[in-house]
C-alpha cells in the first residue's frame, strides 16, 4: 500500500499553498485520480484522514474525482474513453489501443478554504 505516502505528498503540496496564502483554513482538497494511476481511492481516503492529523489540513475533506483512461484509436483516428482497464480496445470498433493519452494522473486541482 503506497496510498499513505501519496496522502503525505498531497498534504505537503497543499500545505505549502496554505502557508503562502497565510491564515486560511482548508475545508476540502479536490483531487483527480486516473484509472491507470495504480492508486486505490478508498485506501487513499483512509490514509488522508490519518495523515492530516496535526497538520494545517486537519479536519479537511479529500474529494476524489475518478477519471477514466483516454486512449487513441488508430482505426477511428479518434480519442476514446476506455470503459475498462482490462481491455485496451476501442469501445467503438474494437481495435487494440496501445496509445494512452491520459489516465495516470494523480493531481490536486483545487482546495476550498475559509480566510
Amino acid at each position: 500500500m503506497h496510498e499513505l505516502s501519496i496522502a503525505l505528498s498531497i498534504i505537503e503540496g497543499v500545505s505549502e499553498e496554505v502557508q503562502r496564502l497565510g491564515g486560511v483554513q482548508v475545508t476540502s482538497v479536490h483531487l483527480k485520480l486516473g484509472s491507470l494511476s495504480g492508486v486505490v481511492k478508498d485506501s487513499l481516503l483512509f490514509s488522508y484522514q490519518l495523515a492530516c492529523e496535526g497538520t494545517p489540513l486537519e479536519g479537511s475533506e479529500l474529494v476524489v474525482e475518478e477519471t477514466p483512461a483516454i486512449v487513441h484509436c488508430p482505426l477511428c483516428d479518434a480519442d476514446q474513453v476506455l470503459t475498462t482497464v482490462q481491455h485496451f480496445r476501442c469501445p467503438q470498433c474494437g481495435a487494440p489501443t496501445p496509445e494512452v493519452l491520459s489516465g495516470r494522473e494523480v493531481e490536486v486541482v483545487a482546495m476550498e478554504m475559509i480566510s
Binding site: S37, G38, H87, V106, E107, V109, E112
Partner: protein, 225 residues
C-alpha cells in the same frame, strides 16, 4: 455571519517530485551510456533467479551491475553477488516499492560510465511500483507459469506500464497445465503490442533470445543518442 468557503484552483502533480528525479536519472544514465532495465513482478515469480542468470551469462561480455529492492533482508543481494557483478541492496523498510530518490541514493559512489547495463529489481509487488518512474530505459514485467494466466487482468496497471513482458519458469508449464495462449492474450489485452518472451532461468531455455533482445535495445539506444 459565517464566512463562505471559496474554491481556489491548484495544479499539483502528486508524483512531480519523483518524476523530476527520475527525469534527472534518465539523462544521467544516457550521458553515461548505461542501459537501465527495471524488473517488476509479484513476490516469488522468479525475479532474482532470472536476474542472477542474466548477470552470470552477460558478465563475460558486458559490464553489468544490479540494485535490488526489498522490504527487509539482504538475501537477494547475497544471491546476486554470486554472479561476481557489483550488487547493492536497497532496504525499503515499510515502503512497498522503489522510488527514484532511493535509486539515486543507492548509486552514490558508483561511476556509471563503468557500466553497460544496470538492472534494478523492484520490490515484489504488482500494484505500487506502477506509479513510480525510476528513470529506467526498459521496464520488464515478469509473470511465472505458477501464478496463473489471468494475473495481467487482475493487475492491468502494472502490465500497462511495462515495455516488455517475460513469462518465467517455463520448465514448470506442463506440470501446472499453463495455458500459454490465454496468458499471452491477457497480456495483449492490457498492453496491446507488447513484446513477450518465454523462458526458464533454471534450464536456461529462452535466456539467449532475451539477452539478444536487451543487447539490441542498448545498441539502438546508443545509435539514437
Amino acid at each position: 455571519m459565517n464566512p463562505q468557503p471559496r474554491l481556489v484552483a491548484l495544479r499539483h502533480n502528486v508524483f512531480k517530485k519523483n518524476d523530476l528525479l527520475a527525469r534527472g536519472l534518465r539523462s544521467r544514465f544516457q550521458q553515461a551510456g548505461v542501459h537501465v532495465i527495471s524488473l517488476v513482478s509479484s513476490p516469488g515469480s522468479g525475479k532474482t533467479a532470472f536476474l542472477e542468470k542474466m548477470l552470470t551469462t552477460m558478465r563475460p561480455q558486458f559490464r553489468v551491475a544490479a540494485l535490488v529492492g526489498d522490504l527487509a533482508t539482504e538475501n537477494d543481494a547475497a544471491r546476486l553477488a554470486r554472479s561476481q557483478a557489483p550488487v547493492r541492496q536497497i532496504i525499503t523498510g515499510t515502503v512497498c516499492h522503489l522510488e527514484a530518490e532511493m535509486v539515486q541514493h543507492a548509486l552514490e559512489g558508483w561511476d556509471l560510465r563503468d557500466l553497460d547495463f544496470l538492472f534494478i529489481e523492484n520490490v515484489g509487488n504488482l500494484v505500487c511500483p506502477a506509479s513510480y518512474d525510476l528513470g529506467e530505459e526498459l521496464r520488464i514485467v515478469l509473470l511465472s507459469v505458477t501464478e496463473g494466466e489471468d494475473k495481467p487482468l487482475k493487475y492491468p496497471t502494472i502490465f500497462n506500464s511495462a515495455d516488455v513482458a517475460v513469462i518465467t519458469k517455463s520448465d514448470l508449464a506442463v506440470a501446472t497445465e499453463f495455458d500459454w495462449a490465454a496468458a499471452e492474450s491477457n497480456i495483449q489485452s492490457v498492453r496491446p503490442g507488447i513484446q513477450t518472451f518465454r523462458l526458464s532461468a533454471k534450464t536456461g531455455d529462452g535466456m539467449a533470445a532475451f539477452i539478444a533482445f536487451v543487447q539490441s535495445r542498448r545498441s539502438a539506444a546508443i545509435a539514437s543518442a
